[in-house]
Symmetry: C2
Subunit: 389 residues, 2 copies
């Protein structure tokens, strides 16, 4: 934060002038409204006769908490960096970015207020449509381009150095990858899960496997990640009759293990499948892990011949993808567990008439994914686990 002196907190009344100043709008009238929704940042939508834009600004604190919970606004740098990497290789998987104003930690981007958050759509009984194929391709494009396969060695080192994100990584290390397995004031759960929550805290096998995933998260510098790729970080909708999917909010981005991105999505997709089954809904929720993995693998293999470092051979690719697969399963399990007995819960389960039984099924599935991740050979094995209940 060496730019504090020029950093100004934007209010709705400032946005029209700000957009003109940045060259994103001409002199025409703009209507601006604040639509801040996530916990961290402010978002404004500006619309005019020929224009629709969003401005997202990171504040030097957590938005919903205020200045008493300071948080470096450099998370916006991480977000802009991730968007820039994806824009170069798969621009249609993310919102269009018109510009990043580093001095004010503000992104000017596509207005997505006509789209809806995937989790909300699912909770209302909607379907995934083509989302999982899109997510798999997004992860493949971002991770290949920023791995030692897609990026020259020296550029990679510069990316690793630029993208370290101590504050946001620490949140994940704590909230996702340790607190649910120890006594912690953040943890809470449905009373029907008292026995399982206690059992998980006393489970030496589970603890060691989670420690292994946690260390992989801390040390496995494979590729630039989105870092928070749950179903609340994806917008879906239709434009002129065509489906539109946008992965957004990559402010937790850093160079880490690829399986963390796939795993977060899978954890959320599997919980949505448990919800759908509990409600007796039709739909292909249980197929989303397979669809996103296939899309990821297909795209990664399609990109492989373009790798900058041909010492890595095809046999190594097979081994590498196998490693990504098992890491992803482990992180999926950790995501499920922390979303049920940790700090932040999933509306997929909390809005069920009786969250207890479905939460129990999901928790046990999460544990099985973590503990058995090396033995689960493919999506069909996960499907079998899910169906066993």
């Amino acid at each position: 934060m060496t730019t504090t002196q020029t950093y100004r907190i934007l209010e709705a009344d400032d946005i029209a002038a700000y957009l003109r100043e940045r060259g994103h709008a001409d002199g025409g009238d703009l209507t601006v409204r604040e639509v801040s929704d996530g916990n961290m940042n402010r978002v404004f939508i500006a619309t005019g006769p020929t224009l629709g834009l969003a401005v997202k600004q990171a504040l030097p604190w957590v938005r919903v908490a205020g200045p008493s919970w300071p948080m470096s606004p450099s998370r916006a740098d991480a977000e802009a960096r991730a968007y820039a990497q994806v824009a170069a290789v798969a621009p249609d998987t993310i919102p269009a970015i018109l510009g990043y104003d580093a001095a004010n930690y503000a992104l000017t981007m596509e207005d997505m207020s006509d789209l809806r958050v995937l989790r909300t759509v699912l909770n209302e009984g909607g379907s995934y449509g083509d989302t999982s194929r899109h997510v798999g391709a997004f992860v493949a494009a971002l991770s290949f381009a920023t791995s030692d396969f897609g990026m020259p060695s020296a550029d990679r080192k510069a990316l690793i150095a630029a993208s370290v994100s101590p504050e946001l990584c620490k949140i994940t290390e704590d909230v996702v990858l340790s607190e649910p397995y120890i006594e912690h004031e953040h943890n809470h759960w449905h009373p029907a899960l008292n026995d399982l929550a206690a059992a998980f805290r006393a489970d030496p096998v589970l603890r060691t496997e989670v420690a292994d995933l946690r260390h992989t998260f801390m040390t496995g510098a494979q590729a630039l990640l989105h870092g928070d790729l749950h179903t609340g970080s994806i917008m879906v909708g239709d434009r002129e009759g065509a489906p539109v999917v946008r992965v957004f909010d990559p402010e937790f981005s850093f160079v880490g293990p690829i399986g963390f991105d796939l795993g977060l999505y899978w954890g959320n997709a599997l919980v949505s499948a448990v919800r759908a089954r509990t409600l007796g809904l039709d739909g292909d929720h249980a197929e989303q892990l397979a669809l996103s993995w296939q899309a990821f693998e297909t795209e990664f293999r399609r990109l492989w011949p373009t790798r900058v470092d041909t010492f890595f051979d095809d046999a190594y690719l097979d081994r590498f993808l196998r490693r990504v697969w098992s890491d992803s399963l482990g992180f999926a399990g950790a995501e499920i567990v922390r979303r049920i007995i940790g700090f932040a819960h999933l509306t997929d389960l909390t809005t069920l008439p009786d969250p207890g039984p479905a939460s129990r099924e999901a928790l046990l599935l999460g544990r099985a994914l973590i503990v058995n991740r090396a033995e689960l050979a493919g999506p069909e094995d996960v499907r079998a686990l899910l169906e066993k209940k």
Copy 2:
């Protein structure tokens, strides 16, 4: 290199004034001689009635090649950073550092001209003495202190960012971890090895395993490494009747997989054992892998209760050490292979009356270590491989 304007190349005639200016010497007479020995840097020894010091300066090029081969002198920053980390936890394993002058990329340090390079001692038929225990303890102290076990998460991220070392890592990625397995102008070998060199280049199993080690080197950000821990980076001797060991030259230091440091030492120790056997010498060369591993493991386990992050439990420590063990074996094998059919060879073998047979034994040992590293359970298994020839 933002400090170019103040960066001055020191000559022998400058050293006395330089040491006074830096506060390392008073007005007394100093005798200065240049003793530059490695490929990269200049070293001067200054001695006076009450003083003996060394000044090591990194030039903006490779010393033995001259300005036509530019090389960032920031490798001296890496060296100073590594020394500072070790000095805080195991100062007696490295030379005493009196100061680092970042503007001139110059370290002022203990005069070690009374000590001798371990490789030279061994090649002359000398013994390891207590060196391997010392090396194991050095690796444990440095790696524990700079891992996520010994250092808080945010400090670790800062260390990772500060210690990226694109130029020097690229040398290792190329010279150690790919060139020996492909056609490359750097490669050369004894004519008696023509068949094996060709076989190694056409060996798909070996290639994939080396690719795996290479990717681990590029992405496994476990701890700050020495980065070039062969028997030429260790000085040994006696002072007042007590043995003295100093690990030096950590200019290849960066945050990488711990097994790379142990593996380089093991590769060199195993080759010294092949040499000793070839010459029919007595001695405990073949025991050095076991001695350094035991010292490493003992020290790492001794430090474990001091870890800053107790989510990592004892069962995870066992798994982690098992991973370091197998990584180390793989890197040991890669070090052996590259030192026989790659760019830079070992005098341990080249000075033998007939280097052919011993080089062949060592090459096959190297391959076995790489390919079977996951199955070799402990030092006794490596000893058996070594004795099988």
